[in-house]
Homo-oligomer: 294 residues x 2
């Protein structure tokens, strides 16, 4: 990771985590629900989604006192999706980010509800921005709801589930990931750009950027599942192979997957070049996504 | 049910159902997800929540081309909560409104995701109103998210779950229901009032009205669980007794529960009288809630 990105993360992530702490403090939520929600929100992770929101603002030389709130809201949506993904009736995962999953700690029913409430809270947060005009706020709300709903993330999850045990084509695999992870990553960039009042040209190139890093992110995840250890990942490694899941390495071979990863990386950087952001934080996040080992 | 209310329902509910049909038509949702979402949305039910939204507008002599959309969005939230409520890890119900529950038809994983997507779609719908100013739209979004989230409906669900098998006090029981069902019913009235640009006085009396019909609704539900048949209810009768759940009849006796029901009914009507809505559709809905036998 670049020194600049590391400094940015060291500066911004504590703000995000303070925001999350405040979010669950002094609230009139039932205690168990508050604990279960807070548990998964504080369970860490790479925080790539909120970082994308904040990096866009930085790169477009803009600031917004609502930036952390928007970034946090999208992370709440990501977190709710992980809790449901880990349920016994879904992926049945006992560990996530090195910790016991929500249902292992709080039981299945509480986990279902905590995730539901995190989704609701995300939209409450987005509807409560204090420093953003109402039209922009609604544009962000629409972007986040479309990206995370049946035409986006949740749609991708069901396609992913239906694809298990089947031999998928590359197109089908891409279709899954564009929805399952790509849509929400793209909406982070879009939300940041909306807060920054980006121009149409900036918005267009940023969309190309985010589409490509979304796919790169997933290809890298698939590669790591094959090459990294459970300890490194903080979740069960080789799970894709064990569950006979279609992955980029399975379809293209490890070398082919690496080539595809490099191609999407290049496309993402090219888009940034078009708007003079070739050595921006976003470019460094793209590098980080490709180079990470967990 | 009064003749006027029946006519209103005969006129309005088809509009709601057409809206629901449109909502799932030609959408780029994965087929199974679309079917699972649509299945539960079209599974019927009393539609009391959307009716409340529409009745407020009627009674305040207002109209809004967004009324059905707002009413429908709240019903989507109600529907998602029922799907999760019925899951094996929650109430484990195989029947709802006389039909097999979502997870019985589509499997648990698809049911979890369909409900998640219905929640997201509700907020997408609310963020996409076409005939309402942005400030009012955001006020409705905030009201709905607060009412359905951890301080509202989902909070009530976890309290309800934790109360099972315990001997609750009347205060604890009321606490559960104010959150679990009351909050969303109240937010229907509030959303309708916001669309109708209600005065502060109207808003205040309508809040008293909805708080009381919310509790009346639940007391009546508890009474019906004891007195009605499974066939009448379209769901398993006597389930509360079987699961040793605290209910109004269990705490107050059947007669005491009926007295409490009458008290809340009277308070609701008194609030309407204050704003000259003593013989309004809302008053007739209150009567219907009390008199219904399913």
């Amino acid at each position: 990771m670049s020194e600049q990105l590391k400094m940015f993360m060291d500066e911004q992530l504590p703000l995000l985590h303070t925001h999350f702490t405040e979010l669950f403090k002094g609230k009139n939520y039932p205690e168990t629900l508050n604990e279960a929600m807070s548990y998964s929100v504080h369970a860490g992770g790479k925080r790539i989604r909120p970082l994308l929101v904040l990096a866009v603002l930085h790169d477009l030389k803009s600031t917004s006192d609502d930036a952390v709130r928007v970034a946090g809201a999208i992370e709440l949506i990501h977190t709710y999706s992980l809790i449901h993904d880990d349920l016994p009736c879904m992926d049945d995962d006992d560990f996530r980010r090195g910790n016991p999953t929500n249902h292992v700690v709080f039981g299945e029913a509480a986990a279902v509800l905590a995730a539901d409430a995190l989704q609701t809270l995300a939209f409450e947060e987005l509807a409560s921005l204090q420093h953003t005009d109402a039209a922009t706020t609604l544009a962000i709300l629409r972007a986040v709801s479309i990206a995370s709903g049946p035409a986006g993330m949740v749609g991708g999850q069901i396609l992913d589930m239906q694809g298990e045990g089947k031999q998928l084509t590359l197109t089908e695999l891409e279709e899954i990931h564009v929805h399952k992870t790509g849509a929400l990553l793209a909406c982070c960039v879009e939300s940041g750009a909306l807060l920054a009042n980006a121009t149409d040209t900036e918005m267009q190139q940023l969309r190309t950027f985010s589409k490509n890093i979304g796919l790169a992110f997933q290809i890298k995840d698939d590669i790591l599942d094959v090459t990294a250890s459970t300890e490194q990942l903080g979740k069960t490694a080789n799970k894709d192979t064990a569950s006979d899941k279609s992955t980029y390495p399975a379809l293209l071979g490890l070398e082919g997957a690496h080539a595809k990863l490099a191609d999407h990386h290049k496309r993402a950087l090219d888009a940034l070049e078009q708007i003079s952001l070739g050595s921006s934080l976003l470019a460094q996040i793209a590098d980080y996504i490709i180079d990470r080992n967990a």
